[in-house]
């Protein structure tokens, strides 16, 4: 029974479509995705500074070196922190604002734009702006402190506060994006269900708890996915703010890769970090899709 549909599909021209349309995508994907990943995996076995051909094969030593580096674990912890803050602070904040602003009222659109504005800014520009805001001498934060007659802290210069400062910027920059996702979902929602619940006498909390939020689950899952992937990719916001410092306390995985692999010309070591990051991303993406996004 099984071969029959295949033969029929061959006959109705699907095969031709496959032959015509698959190669371009396949070639691009192989050239720019599969090959580089394969190369990184190959380089990660060498002690190599990027000059000439890699010759000094050291097996899995680069992976051992990475795992022995304290900064790697700090970076991993920081990525975890970013995810936690995204889920526990940014998402509820975005959801609450979306619920408030999805209604039509005077000023709603202006407020939406205002909250969405940080997302439009380039990451590098945001980082630079906030490095001035946080400046302990001239920054906005310093002026507030000085207004109360206190000595301003240098948030970006202390291992205790640098990551906190970065997290604040992340929430500030991305909550508007998630808010927009929720607003779009709320506006596409079937109003009849909400009406029906209202007629049945549901209070507003009940309406949210039993009707609106369950209907938002697909969007929430998507938003969580974006938050986690964004955390794993975060780089250009960190560089102008702290460059991962002081003492590696605000490195993310990618800034750690750049600081310890690329700028040190340790291509093998950097590739090992890249491979580890790749494995984390792939594992996450597949697990998440499997467990949470099955229906989409």
């Amino acid at each position: 029974m099984a071969p029959l549909p295949v033969r029929r599909s061959l006959r109705d021209g699907r095969f031709a479509v496959l032959v015509l349309f698959l190669p371009p995508a396949l070639v691009l994907f192989t050239l720019f995705v599969v090959l580089p990943i394969g190369e990184a995996a190959w380089y990660s076995g060498f002690n190599w500074n990027g000059f000439g051909k890699p010759t000094n094969w050291i097996g899995l030593d680069n992976y051992r070196f990475v795992l022995e580096t304290r900064a790697f674990w700090l970076a991993l912890r920081n990525n975890g922190l970013i995810i936690a803050v995204s889920l526990l602070i940014q998402l509820p904040l975005a959801l609450a604002l979306a619920l408030a602003l999805a209604e039509r009222f005077r000023g709603a659109i202006a407020l939406r734009m205002l909250f969405f504005l940080p997302y439009i800014l380039a990451e590098i520009a945001t980082g630079l702006i906030f490095s001035f805001v946080y400046d302990g001498d001239y920054g906005l934060v310093a002026s507030i402190w000085h207004a109360f007659g206190a000595e301003a802290p240098y948030l970006l210069a202390s291992t205790d506060t640098a990551m906190l400062a970065v997290l604040i910027v992340i929430v500030w920059k991305y909550f508007g994006f998630h808010m927009m996702l929720f607003i779009a979902a709320l506006q596409g929602m079937d109003r009849n269900l909400v009406e029906a619940a209202r007629i049945d006498g549901a209070t507003r909390p009940q309406l949210l708890r039993y009707v609106v939020i369950p209907l938002l689950y697909p969007t929430i899952r998507l938003s969580v996915f974006f938050a986690i992937v964004g955390s794993l990719q975060l780089f250009d916001l960190v560089m102008p703010l702290t460059r991962g410092g002081p003492a590696d306390s605000s490195n993310t995985m990618v800034s750690f890769l750049y600081n310890n692999g690329i700028s040190r010309m340790r291509v093998g070591y950097g590739s090992a970090i890249g491979v580890i990051l790749f494995v984390i991303c792939v594992t996450f993406a597949f697990t998440y899709k499997r467990w949470f996004m099955r229906d989409e």
């Binding site: 970006l156 202390s158 291992t159 003492a247 700028s263 010309m265």
Partner: protein, 424 residues
Amino acid sequence: MGLLTAGVLQRLVLAAAVMAVAAAGAAAETTVKWLHIEANPAQVKIWEEVARTYEAAHPGVKIEMQFLENEAYKAKLPTILQSKDRPHIIYSWAGGVLKSQIEAGVLEDITDQVKGFGDTITPAALAVFSQNGHVYGLPIALSQVGFLYNKDLMAKAKVDAATIKTWDDLLAAVKALKAAGVTPIVVGGADKWPLHFYWTHLAVRIGGKAAFDAALRGENGGFAGATFQQSGELFKQLVDLQPFQNGFLGFKNPQAVGYFGDGKAAMTLAISTTYHLQRALAADKVGLGEDTIGWFDFPVVPGGKGEPSDTLGGITGWLITKSAPKEAVDFLKFFISGDVQTRLAAGNFLIPVVKGADAGLNNSFMKRIAENLAKSNYHQNFYDQSLGPSVGRVVNDAAAEIAGGSMTPQQAATAIEAAWKQGN
């Protein structure tokens, strides 16, 4: 129809003529591609003039200047050098990076072409661009690391900079400045390398050339040995006094230099070129004048094996890349000739490497640095350059971590030795 044909013909003839001219031009013209990282427009202007002068004297040669920002340059260089379209003249801090470039065969051996010419250059400076008797590039400038200080602020705390001779003198000066309510030292801790000057200059004072060479050979415990542990311990003595400006780990070097130029801190341990740079980076673009800025050499450590005249600093220069046209070397020789060096020295842009060109220095500060360097029997190149990027950046990390209190001097020395072993 006829009109059209004539038009087409005309165009064809014109195109052919243009192509012929272009081909003739290409045959006669050699382009020398010169990649630099100089961000000071005043200096680039002089270089441009030098290039145009050379072009005028050598018809058919074109000098093309290309610019990359410092950090970007370091990151892209390995790739650039291995492309077919690589520049012919590139900037270099010598050291470990130069060594790996030579080993990779991306540089041209210019020994024969600079025979005789090399004699006009300070031998120690030329030596760092050579390996096993082969010359790969020519030096252009020297610099020294030492303390710049603000005379007014020192006077406020009644500290006489001329009496700071030993490490303990420095610690005492820091205490006096703090007591007088003056920020003793400003440093760009976020860039890390300004902090590595302390640790490495202490090592130069404590162990001298012998200790560094021994560490390279892995003797006496390498970089985890006594000399380097002691450097960390003495550095920690200073750090424990909290001598730096508030939030120093968040300051990038240009910010810190500007802070010094604004007269907000009494001292800064810096490369000699900072003397001029502080003016450009000060908030008022004026900075500290000649009568308020002073210099003292890095203090000695009693009982240390290094000579007081030993110096830490940079030796920078230009390399010729593999299969560059011979005009590239010729231009470089012109660029590093006595005339041009005297001109750059007269603008106080650099301490020249050509013998006699320091006569052009017309500033007492630059003259003093030039004398220091001439007296020095051991000029240690910056560690983060001479050890190569993989180990050098660990030295920077370690110094910053001692300063931030997240590593003990012992851990710092061990980390550097571990990096040295991993890298070699």
